[in-house]
Amino acid sequence: MAIEARNVTKRFGDFVALDDVSVEVKSGSLTALLGPSGGGKSTLLRVIAGLETPDTGEVFISGKEATALAPQKRGVGFVFQHYAPFTHMTVFDNIAFGLTIRRRPKAEVKKRVEELIELVQLPGLGKRYPSQLSGGQRQRMALARALAAEPEVLLLDEPFGALDARVRKELRGWLLRLHEQTHVTTIFVTHDQEEALELADNVVVMNAGRVEQVAPPRQLYDEPANAFVMSFVGPVNRLGDAWVRPHDIEIRTEPNGSTREAQVLRIVRLGFETRVELVREDGEHLHVQLARDEAEQLELRRGDIVYVRTRRARTFAANGSV
């Protein structure tokens, strides 16, 4: 295990940020901490980095106890949500910081920084100041800075949170390639389930200071441990005790015995995907996702009466939170 948190609890006044949290992260993996804001994921990341001291519990990094170790002795790279660039230093000096503080020889520093500038695709920008970079460039500079001293662990706090949608998509692909190249154990915090499912090979879902489930993306989506995970890692319809994904509802124009009647309230076409909002005869509202072709065959129009059937539904024991 590259990182292990055991029974970590952290309070801020009356607020319980982490409530007896235990997490294991495999070496070389790309792990997402996913959850709503205030769920404790950033606090857990900061506890691992040593920026917060847990009230109780232990942290192990590469098998060594690190709970009381100062952040500068943990060998972690940390990328802050707003990148925390050193505003009075050039891009080069920012990236070199972890090396110059370790008094590495000048030539070595120069070589390593140039490599990193290449790696994060900021060629020719070494002499600029952070204020002269775009958000995406600043983000990559922060990543290069965190990677410079070859940390055993890379921690990213909402790495794409402050960027616009297009840059965010670009950087996701880029982070994935970077991870494939460097294989440094990486944990990133996100509240975006799509980001977590797309990037991570293991996802830790957190809510209200607790771990709800730890699983690879596919398992998380197909076999959510409880109602919270089900509703957080994708859109969902709640029908009584049952939880149904929008793509697990079938729409037919004719009844077939197992269907129920419903009326089309709204149709939204989003390129490949068509979203239909229905109200069933018993008054339940349903959200349905269809592929475009499927939707066109049905020739749906607002106000139409259709017949729906759930293909797959999940129920959770009463203790499944939400």
Binding site: Q72, K73, V76, G77, F78, P85, F86, F97, G98, S131
Partner: protein, 270 residues
């Protein structure tokens, strides 16, 4: 029509503020300069090069050179303690730092007199051990430090709050010790606030009169600072001497402010 009215009111604001500055600030200072050089440069030079005036200038600089670094170091530490560490009682310290701004310097001088005088709490013991505080340099430095204490703290605190802890935390995760973080991250980030605080502290130190005049004794050629020299000259009907020393004081103040402006102009990264 509205544009014209707007430009008229803008003109009024400008004239108003300039006029105010002119009457309150420029006229008195200008008058000092005019009076000092009224009869040419020679009387001025004669007045400022007289040994007592030279000694007063030296003493003022000496006091300032001791008080400013001490208050700068204390000010930075105090600001860090107020902003960065949640130490119980820091709120009280924060409030106390402003005391010298609210308290009349005369009261400060009197308090020091009571503390370090022959029968004072510390004075008695110190005198018994051969350390003379009152009517000597130590008391003048103490008085100056007291009155110029808040400036660095007050300049640095808001800047520390504004820059937040992100950069310091980033430096820590990159392997920097707390001291290295302070030297390489925090200090560069607050340097202009410190510089401005230093300028204000120095300006206040040059100009201090009330507290120092009580504890120094004001003996010409020995414990007389430049401000006291101005007063003494004026009372002795040596108007040229008073004006000339005033010009020196004003020149010191203007030089520090100019140095500050030039420094700030040279640095655009913040």
């Amino acid at each position: 029509m509205t544009a014209k009215r707007a430009s008229n009111s803008l003109l009024l604001v400008r004239l108003g503020s300039l006029g105010y500055l002119g009457i309150i600030l420029v006229a008195p200072v200008g008058l000092i300069f005019w009076r000092a050089f009224e009869h040419g440069f020679h009387p001025f030079w004669a007045a400022v090069s007289n040994p007592i005036a030279v000694h007063a200038l030296k003493l003022t600089l000496e006091v300032t050179v001791i008080a400013v670094p001490l208050n700068t170091a204390f000010g930075i530490l105090c600001a860090l303690a107020i902003v960065r560490h949640r130490i119980p009682g820091m709120g009280l310290v924060n409030a106390f730092v402003d005391l010298p701004l609210a308290l009349s310097p005369v009261v400060v001088g009197l308090a020091l007199y009571l503390l370090y005088g022959r029968d004072g709490w510390f004075g008695h013991w110190l005198l018994a051990h051969g350390v003379r505080v009152l009517f000597a340099l130590p008391a003048m430095v103490l008085a100056t430090m007291f009155v110029s204490l808040p400036f660095v703290v007050r300049e640095v605190v808001p800047v520390l709050r504004e820059i937040g802890t992100d950069q310091e935390e980033a430096a820590a995760t990159l392997g920097a010790s707390p001291l290295a973080t302070f030297r390489r991250i925090t200090l560069p980030a607050i340097r202009w606030a410190v510089a401005y605080g230093v300028v204000l502290t120095a300006a206040r130190s040059f100009g201090e009169f009330g507290a120092v005049s009580i504890v120094s004794g004001g003996i010409a050629g020995r414990t007389q600072t430049l401000t006291q020299y101005v007063q003494a000259s004026y009372e002795n009907f040596d108007q040229t001497g008073a004006y000339a020393a005033s010009v020196l004081l004003a020149a010191l103040a203007i030089t520090t402010l100019l140095a500050m402006t030039v420094m700030r102009h040279g640095d655009r990264s913040t």
